[in-house]
Symmetry: D2
Subunit: 342 residues, 4 copies
Amino acid sequence: MIRFSCDYSEGAHPRIIDRLAATNFEQTPGYGTDEHCDAARGYISKLCGVPTERIHFLVGGTQTNFTLIAAALRPYEGVIAAETGHINVHETGAVEATGHKVIALPGIDGKLNAAAVEAAFVDHENDETHEHIVKPALVYISESTEAGTVYSLSEIKAIYDAAHRHGARLYIDGARLGYAMASSDCDFDLKQLAGVCDAFYIGGTKVGALFGEALVIVDETLNRDFRYMIKQRGGMLAKGRLLGIQFETLFEDGLYFEISKHAVAMAMRVRDAFKSAGCAFFQDSSTNQQFPLVTPELKARLAKDFAFEHWGWKDGLEAVRFCTSWATTEEQVSALERALRA
Amino acid sequence: MIRFSCDYSEGAHPRIIDRLAATNFEQTPGYGTDEHCDAARGYISKLCGVPTERIHFLVGGTQTNFTLIAAALRPYEGVIAAETGHINVHETGAVEATGHKVIALPGIDGKLNAAAVEAAFVDHENDETHEHIVKPALVYISESTEAGTVYSLSEIKAIYDAAHRHGARLYIDGARLGYAMASSDCDFDLKQLAGVCDAFYIGGTKVGALFGEALVIVDETLNRDFRYMIKQRGGMLAKGRLLGIQFETLFEDGLYFEISKHAVAMAMRVRDAFKSAGCAFFQDSSTNQQFPLVTPELKARLAKDFAFEHWGWKDGLEAVRFCTSWATTEEQVSALERALRA
Amino acid sequence: MIRFSCDYSEGAHPRIIDRLAATNFEQTPGYGTDEHCDAARGYISKLCGVPTERIHFLVGGTQTNFTLIAAALRPYEGVIAAETGHINVHETGAVEATGHKVIALPGIDGKLNAAAVEAAFVDHENDETHEHIVKPALVYISESTEAGTVYSLSEIKAIYDAAHRHGARLYIDGARLGYAMASSDCDFDLKQLAGVCDAFYIGGTKVGALFGEALVIVDETLNRDFRYMIKQRGGMLAKGRLLGIQFETLFEDGLYFEISKHAVAMAMRVRDAFKSAGCAFFQDSSTNQQFPLVTPELKARLAKDFAFEHWGWKDGLEAVRFCTSWATTEEQVSALERALRA
Amino acid sequence: MIRFSCDYSEGAHPRIIDRLAATNFEQTPGYGTDEHCDAARGYISKLCGVPTERIHFLVGGTQTNFTLIAAALRPYEGVIAAETGHINVHETGAVEATGHKVIALPGIDGKLNAAAVEAAFVDHENDETHEHIVKPALVYISESTEAGTVYSLSEIKAIYDAAHRHGARLYIDGARLGYAMASSDCDFDLKQLAGVCDAFYIGGTKVGALFGEALVIVDETLNRDFRYMIKQRGGMLAKGRLLGIQFETLFEDGLYFEISKHAVAMAMRVRDAFKSAGCAFFQDSSTNQQFPLVTPELKARLAKDFAFEHWGWKDGLEAVRFCTSWATTEEQVSALERALRA
């Protein structure tokens, strides 16, 4: 059985495992104050143009999302997200558990639209009873989206500008940021990204790390006392060095970008293989997630040797999700190609 | 200026004011443990067939909603509501502030549909990742709805049955329950209503009282320790007698129902007057809220002498809301009729 | 049975009842935007030297406390209070339910000490692990205290200065502010009080009103969007005029102060009567609450005709609480005096 | 510099590192549903006599504490803890952030006393105003305590019985459970421990793992839907296998107990070394934390070569904390012994 069901089926890039082993008996202070964390923050700081003290390492994506969002909002404020946004559908109400409404707007191909965001702010402000309505004060987008699509820099900037025109902020969930940046649709680097948002995270869990997300808080005000937030919300790892070591490895010489490119190259082969087999797609994706539409027969045949996920329905056909990752091998993809040719 | 803009423009029914004056220097214990509260609970208990200890008086509607909902849900559970439901749009995220997601479903004429509710439960249970999704555990409906419409007993029962098939409960926001029960569309009494839900409140604020809502908790389990909840959420009035006196007055001899009927009769005159003036409606309503579609000219003309609210747009015309209440006089309606005839 | 058990046994000052009756059929907009609220805010604004837009009316004390405190704190911040503070012991964890720790410090006679407050701030800042500890960001005191004692202006100022030295704020629970200001121990007026805190409320529930508290937010930043907070936390009364009418009546010509003085005068007679009967006190009080120490025999004898509360134990004797209020009559006190002389 | 400052200075036991490397390219499903987690749950299940489905792996201690506590309590309920309890002082108000009060009781040597716990329940129940007071519904103890002390089985059982007499539960924070069980003061095994509590966790972070805590929920009711709680609170690791692999390694053949014994043996050498140097102790400890009282001179001398923590003051001397762990070497302790002999 070859698993294409998600992008977290394996452990970590071998260089990370090696580094963990090599540093295992170093004695370091805890909670992210060690030299490995310092080094990792330094690398990321340079790439993003954001001071090191605004870079934080947390353990997982849901945790990073609710910690940042809870820090950004006053009690009566809410966060705008696409209806398909991860915080709206797949985090068991973690944002609401911090007291805040997720204001869900319809998206297109998983993406929020700047005009719709602008309208949401304007509608709220113009409502005579606005004090009776949750105040939108943050916009959440995912890059790449849950649908595998990628926002261009100008699309992000348009949303950022809309938010800032109304005293709100923009936060980007980068669980799959590596894969977005490896996409042919991507037209920005980390520094440019940092220029059009108030905070974003660089996902490690799905891109080569055992676990861990690097949160970059661009807005200095939002960064105030942020370590209290991390501790309170359970994200401050005692052996913080584990996060430092992983991000050090991923960012000291571009490994993060290299393995992201590999994953997307594998995804393009997957895409082409389904195309060649005559399959249409639930939705175009230039990143590591592919959503072919399959007949019951094809699904059954593939399910013998491959693990993948149900995604939805379109035009009478079932959409399934095939994910590649940094760990996907040429051989695994070749096996899928052969199966689709059969 | 005559105000039809809402159903809480005046004070209280004069019998309530008189009773408050007459009892003013009685000395009573606090927090709802006095004889007036006992008497009021007794009247309501008889009408609903629910033991007195499951009847509680709170100060306002938003407060009653979030207190009951917070008591009903475990942390990862959410409440299903129509997109237009008051808790979803007009309570500044009060439910989310208690930690729970409002799971908004599209409604029809402000009403949830039992089949859609059933589907929401089934979809959640069938989802392989259901632990990553808020668990629906309560359904919220308003009777009458925010759109002035009324659920029939069988419609409520169908939603109740759907909820109970899935281990969930049904709660009814009765801010305008009096007006619903005075509608020609209503086919139940309080005892029957109590038979098809787990909790509901009988609204006082909009139906004759200065303020106050009588919460009836049908489900004994849900009632456990409920007074702790009321106190914690700010709903336990020190001089609880004020609530007792008001509900005593409203329910000792049917005043609540009588004044509700008056309000709806006035609303029917309002409806007929707009019809006669050639107006269509945003939506049919058999209760105290009417939503005529008006031209800019008509709106401007009416606005000189009457206060009313903007509601929305339909077919190129503006919908406005005219509310009647227990306090609406024949003269006020006659004045509107004259204005519409002009 | 004459009730001295609390200061909310009766309704409201008759002028308030009259005013409610007289205004009953006025039509007003809701939610505190009516002319009565405007007038009341005007009177209080003048007395306090705080702009009207920073004055808000809420329904009850617990609600006022948790709404203000939740607005003042970021998620990882806590509020310092005396161990005996109302928010720490008698609000069913309402502050914690908003997500914040009450940092309880030992008090003396119910009062916090500025040096202890200063030390709490310093200790937190000096702790190397301070990010692992709730950050104190607000100080809560009650005036008069739950123990009947009164802070002098300089005592309050010392706490205020300590808080401000550490970037924190001071909030004063004035549930019994009228009775504090009528005490011989009081050396400030409302304007002076507003000069040594960031927010305080003028209690109506216990001082002449049916219900209601007037919150005065001195700090403009803290006032931002505060009406959203009130609505979300259930404190925005639909018929807000009820609060306006009451505070208008209490403050248009000094009624609030006058009835407070009466209550304290009655309390002094109560105090003297117990003294004459040879009783010592759990604690000295110059306000409307008196805490005599009684033998079982005296307690039993008094309990036949008077209601009062158990308070605690001291020197082998039971402390009980006798409260007077605006409503206490000379006759009631005379009856108690006779009983004590017997 | 040799670090005795905490018990999480190094990585993980080498067998864990090896196992992570060996399994790195296995493909597994996520979120704790893999075979390694199954195996680990199996080992722990056997040791504790608790079904596997009630054993959960979370990432860290604070997270485990607030997730379990939030699951155990209704909104108005609180958790009793010693004043020195980790949840009361060193988790940045994480429990309060879930809405619940930590009811702090004075402890003796870091331990709660069953009689004091019983009294807290009785006092609450007997209070006439109990609805105004947070209801104690859970007791939290740490084993070993933050002070290095160990509860005996009968001490735990007495607290457990007190809680159960009052409808409450007992939860044990086992961040250092291994070290407690290696103490000469310990008189129970895991099965016996499971018999006197409703939930406890077996700490991995401080006892040989990179990170991770194994939560054992004895009470079936408390376990209902617990995976929703873990996901919502950020504790559900995508690559759950990392936790499975670690606990598999620690429990397949007793490694956890073996390395715990080593740590305590090293701590006893540390203790004896300070004793021989004439030092008294802040408090006796039979576990891996030692709290000698040191003069400024001794402190300064030790600080040149060793890292340790300030703990407090006693009898005019400073108490410092020296921690050993599974990773402490004989050589490190010998170096300390030499320094103390000097």
